[in-house]
C-alpha cells in the first residue's frame, strides 16, 4: 500500500534502499545446503562447518519462544540468508563499490571515522565491505577485523573462544546465528592495552527480506580497556527482515570493556539478538544499549560475573512507537563473592508502542557481599501506549544486597504547563521532558553519539503531539 509506505518512510529517515546491488544472493529459505554453501563460499575449516550444522539441528528442534514478544509474523522460509554485496573488502572507502559507499556517506560513517574513531567496520547485508583500523593501534597488538577474516588469520583464537559464551544450545536465535553467521567483528585487546578512542562497527541491511546474522567476538585480555560502538539501520520495506546477531565478550581479570549500541532499524525488522559477556576477577563489563527502531526487539544483554569483584552494568533506553514492541532488559548472573551489578533501564512508549522490561538477577550460592541494583523508568506519552516491567530474581544466598525500583511516569499536565508558561510550545515542552528523561543514557555516550542520539530522539518525537 503506497500510502502506508509513505507514512512509514516519513517517520524513518534511513528508509531508502540501493536496489539489488549484491554480487551473489541466495534464494529464500533455510536448508542444510544453505549452511554448507555459506561455509564453502567462505572456505572455512571443517570444524566451523560442523559447528554450523550442529547449530542448525538445534535451531530446527527448538520451538519458537512464546514467553516474549509476538513473533508470529516472522516466517523463516521468507528470509534470504546470505547476500554478498561485493567481491572484496575495502581498506579505503574508494575500494568500496560506489553505491554502497554513497550509502555509508549518507549515514555519516566515513566522516565520523575521520573525526573520532579508532577503527571502523562497515557491514552491508552479509559481508563487511569496509574495514580499517589506525596503524598505531595495530602496532600495539590490537586486533580489530571482521570475524570471517579472523577465522582465517587467527584460527586458534577464534576456535578457543567461539561459542563459549553463548553456546548454540542457548536459544533458538543463537542457534540460527551460529548456523548461518556471516560478518561481525572480532576484537582482541592485548594485556594492559588501553584503547581510549572507540572502535565502531556499522551494520546496514539493504536487501528486502534480508537476514543479517553477524557474529561478534571480543576478547579483552587482562588489564585492558576498550570501547566498541555499533550502529544499525535498514531500508523500510513492507515485508519483514531479520537481524539476529550473537555477541560474545570475554573480559579477563582487571579489564574493562564497554559495548555501546544505537540500534535504529526500520520498522519492518525483527531484531532478535543475544549478547553476553563473561567478567572475570575485578573485571568490568558495561553494556550501553539504545533501541530506537525495529518492529520487534528482543534483547537482554547479560553479564556472567564469574570472578570475585567483577562488575556488570547495563544502561539501556528503548523507544517504541506505532506498531513497535521493544522487549528488552538485562540478565546479571552473580557467580562470585563481592560482584556487583547495576541495571538502569529507561523506556519511552508513544503512538501505541509497547515497551517491556524483562530482566533477571541471579545470585548463586556463596556470593557473599554481592550487590545488585535495578532501576526501571518508563515514560508513557499517550493513552494508547503501554509498558510492562517484568523483573525476575533468583537468590540462593542471603548475604547479598539487592535493590529494585521501578517508576512509570506520564508527561504531566503540570510539567507541560510549567514549561509552556515560559514560552515553549507543547511539542518543545514534551521534547524537553523526554530529552531530560533519557539524559542519564545520552550522558554515557561519546559526545558525537550523544548528539546523534538526541537528534534521533528529536526526530522520533516529531509529531508526537496530536
Amino acid at each position: 500500500m503506497a500510502t502506508r509506505q509513505q507514512l512509514v518512510s516519513e517517520e524513518y529517515e534511513y528508509g531508502f534502499n540501493d536496489g539489488d546491488v549484491g554480487v551473489l544472493k541466495f534464494q529464500k529459505g533455510l536448508t542444510r545446503q544453505v549452511v554448507e554453501e555459506i561455509s564453502r563460499i567462505k572456505q572455512e575449516p571443517a570444524w566451523m562447518l560442523d559447528f554450523r550444522l550442529h547449530a542448525l539441528d538445534i535451531f530446527l528442534k527448538k520451538p519458537m519462544p512464546k514467553w516474549g514478544a509476538d513473533l508470529s509474523a516472522l516466517d523463516f522460509e521468507k528470509i534470504v540468508y546470505y547476500v554478498k554485496p561485493s567481491d572484496r573488502q575495502g581498506k579505503t572507502w574508494d575500494e568500496v563499490p560506489q553505491q554502497i559507499k554513497d550509502t555509508f556517506e549518507r549515514l555519516g560513517i566515513p566522516e565520523a571515522e575521520r573525526k573520532f574513531l579508532a577503527g571502523v567496520s562497515a557491514q552491508y547485508d552479509s559481508e563487511v565491505v569496509y574495514h580499517n583500523i589506525h596503524k598505531d593501534l595495530e602496532e600495539q597488538g590490537i586486533i580489530f577485523t571482521d570475524t570471517d577474516t579472523a577465522l582465517r588469520e587467527y584460527p586458534d583464537l577464534v576456535r578457543e573462544y567461539f561459542g563459549t559464551v553463548i553456546p548454540s544450545e542457548d536459544n533458538k536465535f543463537a542457534a540460527l546465528n551460529t548456523a548461518v553467521w556471516s560478518g561481525g567483528s572480532f576484537v582482541y585487546l592485548p594485556k594492559g592495552v588501553h584503547c581510549n578512542i572507540p572502535l565502531q562497527a556499522y551494520f546496514r541491511i539493504n536487501s528486502e527480506n534480508m537476514g543479517q546474522f553477524e557474529r561478534t567476538l571480543i576478547i579483552a585480555d587482562e588489564g585492558s580497556f576498550g570501547h566498541y560502538v555499533e550502529g544499525c539501520t535498514a531500508p523500510t520495506y513492507n515485508s519483514e527482515s531479520l537481524h539476529s546477531a550473537v555477541v560474545e565478550i570475554l573480559v579477563k581479570e582487571g579489564a574493562r570493556m564497554r559495548y555501546t549500541t544505537v540500534q535504529n532499524w526500520a520498522s519492518n525488522v525483527f531484531n532478535l539478538v543475544t549478547k553476553r559477556a563473561i567478567a572475570e576477577k575485578n573485571a568490568t563489563m558495561e553494556w550501553v544499549d539504545g533501541n530506537i527502531g525495529s518492529k520487534v526487539t528482543m534483547k537482554y544483554p547479560s553479564v556472567y560475573l564469574v570472578g570475585e569483584g567483577a562488575r556488570g552494568m547495563v544502561l539501556s533506553i528503548a523507544v517504541a512507537g506505532k506498531g513497535q514492541h521493544q522487549d528488552t532488559g538485562s540478565k546479571m548472573y552473580h557467580y562470585a563473592p563481592h560482584t556487583t551489578s547495576t541495571i538502569l533501564s529507561k523506556s519511552i512508549s508513544k503512538h501505541g508502542g509497547k515497551t517491556t522490561y524483562r530482566g533477571l538477577v541471579h545470585m548463586a550460592k556463596g556470593v557473599e557481599g554481592a550487590k545488585s541494583n535495578v532501576k526501571c523508568d518508563t515514560l508513557i506519552l499517550d493513552e494508547e501506549s503501554n509498558s510492562d516491567t517484568i523483573p525476575y530474581t533468583e537468590v540462593s544466598d542471603s548475604r547479598v544486597e539487592m535493590e529494585h525500583e521501578a517508576t512509570v511516569t506520564k508527561v504531566s499536565e503540570e510539567q507541560l504547563f510549567y514549561l509552556m508558561s515560559r514560552g515553549l510550545s507543547e511539542e518543545d515542552a514534551t521534547r524537553m521532558v523526554v530529552m531530560g528523561f533519557i539524559e542519564p543514557f545520552t550522558r554515557e555516550l561519546p559526545m558525537e553519539f550523544a548528539v546523534e542520539m538526541n537528534r534521533l530522539i528529536k526526530f522520533e518525537m516529531e509529531g508526537a503531539i496530536g
Binding site: 499536565e413 504547563f417 509552556m420 508558561s421 515560559r422 514560552g423 524537553m432 531530560g436 539524559e439
Partner: protein, 259 residues
C-alpha cells in the same frame, strides 16, 4: 510603545465545575505594583493560574486582555511569548534538563529561529541575574528544580523572570515557606526588575513581602471577587487586624449587593 496593560474584567472561573472566581475585575499597567491579598481558598491562586492559561481552570465568563489582545484565546505558551510571566507557587521539577539549558530554550522560544541567543551573551546575563539573587553560579548546571530547597525554587522563579523580561509578571505566593533572609533576597530580585515596562501582580497571604516591595495598590479578594482596593496602608491594616475584619465588615455588604 506604550507600557503594558493587563485588564481582567468580570472574570468567572470554575474548577471541576465549581465556581471559584465570581466576577473579578482588576487592571495593571506598566510600572505599577499590585498586591492581591486574601484568606486561603478565596481564589487567589486560581486567578494566577487562569491568567497563565492552566487547562484545569475553565473560564465561564468575563475577559482577560494584554495590551488589548484576548489572552483567553491564546494557549499558555503564546501568552508567555506575548509577555506574560507567572512565578509559580509550586514550580515543577524536570529531571535531566539543566536550569541553563531550560532558560536558553525559553529565551530562544521567543526569538526568531534563525537568531538564537548567543552563548556568551546568555551566560553573562545569567551570571548577572544569579548575582542579584545571591545564587551560586553552579546552580545553572543543576537539573531544573530537582532537589531544590523551597527557597531555591522561589529564587529560580525570579531568576527566570529576570532573564525572560516579561511585560506583566504574576508572582504567586513567592514568599511562602521562606525565612526572612530569603524573602529579602527574593524581594531584591523583584525590585531589580521594576521598570515602566513591567507591571507586577503580587499574590500573597501575608503582608511581609510588601515590606520589601512597596505596592501601589492593594486588593483584597474574598469569595472570588475583589471586595476592597486601596493603597499600601490597606496591607498594614490587614497585618494588624487579620482577615476576620474583612469577613465581619465587608461580607454582609457583598452578600447584600445585587449579583
Amino acid at each position: 510603545m506604550a507600557g503594558p496593560e493587563l485588564a481582567i474584567d468580570n472574570l468567572h472561573v470554575a474548577v471541576d465545575g465549581t465556581p471559584v472566581l465570581k466576577g473579578l475585575t482588576l487592571s495593571i499597567r506598566g510600572g505599577e505594583v499590585h498586591a492581591v491579598m486574601g484568606p486561603n481558598g478565596t481564589g487567589k491562586s486560581t486567578l494566577a493560574q487562569t491568567i497563565m492559561g492552566h487547562p484545569r481552570y475553565q473560564v465561564t465568563g468575563g475577559s482577560i486582555t494584554l495590551d488589548g489582545q484576548d489572552l483567553l484565546a491564546m494557549k499558555t505558551d503564546a501568552r508567555a511569548r506575548a509577555g506574560l510571566f507567572l512565578a509559580m507557587q509550586y514550580p515543577n521539577e524536570v529531571s535531566g534538563v539543566t536550569t541553563a539549558n531550560f532558560l536558553r530554550t525559553a529565551l530562544n522560544a521567543r526569538r526568531d529561529a534563525k537568531d538564537p541567543v548567543r552563548l556568551k551573551e546568555f551566560r553573562d546575563e545569567l551570571d548577572h541575574a544569579m548575582d542579584i539573587l545571591s545564587i551560586d553560579h553552579g546552580f545553572a548546571n543543576r537539573y531544573l528544580n530537582e532537589g531544590f530547597s523551597g527557597g531555591e525554587k522561589k529564587r529560580n522563579e525570579i531568576l527566570q523572570m529576570l532573564l525572560l523580561k516579561p511585560r506583566i509578571a504574576v508572582l504567586d505566593e513567592i514568599d511562602s515557606g521562606l525565612d526572612i533572609d530569603a524573602v529579602r533576597i527574593v524581594a531584591q530580585g523583584v525590585d531589580a526588575s521594576r521598570s515602566p515596562e513591567l507591571g507586577l501582580l503580587i499574590i500573597t497571604h501575608y503582608q511581609r513581602i510588601l515590606n520589601y516591595i512597596k505596592p501601589d495598590y492593594v486588593h483584597i479578594v474574598y469569595d472570588g471577587r475583589v471586595v476592597k482596593s486601596g493603597g499600601p496602608e490597606l496591607a498594614e491594616t490587614l497585618e494588624s487586624r487579620g482577615y476576620e475584619w474583612i469577613r465581619e465588615e465587608l461580607v454582609p455588604a457583598v452578600e447584600g449587593s445585587p449579583a
